[in-house]
């Protein structure tokens, strides 16, 4: 019989929404309610929150000082210890899950399936490769547990349900001392994060200079959007590396993506394919960006952006 373990992600106070997405993936495995493991220190509130997510059958709370921070080296031995009693172990494909789960898989001596985007059977999954340009179907053989990370964008968060029991669980493994947490600095000030923003305003070589990017920042602030850039704009020194959108930069899926002066190199397009609506503004009507844009406008971004701002009132 299948038995599913979901590793919860949280910040010490609140459950990360990615956990509810994992539980909705778990529900598709048709294995009944899943056990949810919360590793933390003083994380009872998180465990109670997890107990109210639909699809959870039981919450196991491993509460230890060593688990106060989400460090893979500290958490992995405990997860691997518990995982031995399960047929499936799932974690979100966030930086938390991507860091932790391969370490768990290696301790178990089994391969991992990364970024599950759909469940085709209890042991059969689809996942993206080549930055989403080739989707593969993989099957985990019967003699191995399924260890998989779940792609956030592919699953809706499971809803709320009546609370299930929270039980304390104490691992026998002792956490190592070779890894020490120092601090967490939150990113980019008031502007939303490129990875999670609802809207992204992006510029390419056509913006022309670092100074000209101010036009994009102004529009972004009006719309509460994040700012991104193509590799060409980064290579030209207009904006720092961290803004790069594309296969070697950030792969994003905002509700709306504005591409200003971006020609649309393949490696950029692979970074925005999952966006809800792609808007492209470029002087060159033959630019490849128009092949993927939902709404295209041939025009000069320095005229178009002020006109957009005027119409925003």
């Amino acid at each position: 019989m299948s038995k599913v373990l979901v590793i919860a992600e949280h910040n010490g106070n609140h459950l990360n929404p990615s956990t509810a997405r994992c539980l909705s993936c778990a529900a598709q495995l048709q294995a009944g309610p899943a056990d949810v493991l919360v590793l933390g220190h003083g994380a009872e509130a998180v465990a109670r929150e997890a107990a109210e997510v639909a699809g959870a059958g039981r919450v196991l709370l491993a509460d230890q000082p060593a688990f106060a921070q989400p460090l893979a080296a500290m958490l992995a031995p405990a997860v691997a210890e518990l995982a031995r009693g399960y047929t499936h172990v799932l974690a979100p494909s966030t930086t938390f899950g991507k860091d932790l789960l391969p370490r768990v898989a290696a301790l178990l001596g089994v391969p991992q399936v990364s970024e599950v985007m759909s469940v085709e059977g209890p042991r059969k999954f689809r996942r993206p490769t080549y930055a989403g340009n080739a989707i593969i179907t993989v099957e985990v053989p019967d003699d191995l547990p399924v260890v998989a990370t779940v792609r956030n964008a592919s699953f809706k968060a499971a809803g709320k349900a009546a609370a299930v029991p929270v039980e304390a669980w104490t691992p026998t493994a002792t956490a190592p001392t070779h890894t020490r947490y120092v601090e967490l600095r939150s990113g980019g000030g008031d502007r939303p994060d490129l990875q999670t923003a609802r809207a992204v305003i992006s510029g390419g070589r056509g913006v022309g200079s670092a100074e000209n990017f101010a036009v994009l920042y102004r529009l972004a602030d009006r719309l509460g959007a994040a700012v991104g850039a193509s590799r060409a704009a980064v290579d030209a020194g207009f904006v720092p590396n961290e803004l790069q959108v594309g296969q070697t930069g950030k792969i994003i899926a905002p509700e709306v993506y504005f591409a200003f002066g971006i020609s649309g190199a393949i490696q950029h397009l692979t970074g925005i394919k999952d966006a809800g609506t792609i808007v492209a503004v470029n002087k060159d009507g033959d630019a490849p960006i128009f092949e993927v844009a939902d709404i295209g406008l041939v025009g000069d971004l320095f005229q178009v952006i002020p006109e957009i701002e005027r119409r925003l009132g």
Binding site: R103, Y130, N133, A134
Partner: protein
Amino acid sequence: MDKIIVGLKRVVDYNVRIRVKPDGSGVATEGLKMSVNPFDEIALEEALRIRERGEAREVVVVSIGPEDCQQQLRTGLAMGADRAVHVPHDGDLEPLAVARILLGLVTREAADLVILGKQAIDDDCSQTGQMLAALWDRPQATFASKLETSGTTARVTREVDAGLEVIEVDLPAVVTTDLRLNEPRYVKLPDIMKAKKKPIESVTIASLGVDPAPRLRTLHHEPPAPRQKGVMVKDVDQLMGTLRERGVLG
């Protein structure tokens, strides 16, 4: 520290559009431009900078795969690596097998630091560094955007979803690179000439006692669902109208 090991994976160049074979059996890679995985190039750049600061003595590059991987090792040598190790293998390798092979090399070389890319841009697995660290029973610092070494420890800034996380790890350790860590140097012609004289050692998978057979079964490849054909608008009025119709601008 004495020695840094860097992994270089041979992948389809980031700027090439790949195609799924019509029969779904795989991705057509024949004749495409191949390069060093971009994140691995960043890993090598970082290792070279550590050595150039006098904090390490030697940088060794490793590649696992077909004979052609030697091209990527030559690129690594031209960038400044001291020597190269090639582990020949034809066919697919899962990250767990790669981690086991690297463990053999890392143990043999008594490496103080292993720097790998955070993921390869072909299989996009993002597993190898973490798996190596687990098998080696050493610390891991994934998605690094800053790396400072001092004697027996390293302080690493990691790009995590919540911002920048700083951790300190004891060496030896495994670090995987994010894009922001550095900008790799360009290779100059004289360096390419010099690199031809540097040694590439060959080490077999068998001699490391690793079973390279994949455990997962890849059943099918398919291209992504195409996006719906878009519309062209004449002016900003039409643009704003279309955005509002779609409920995009609230």
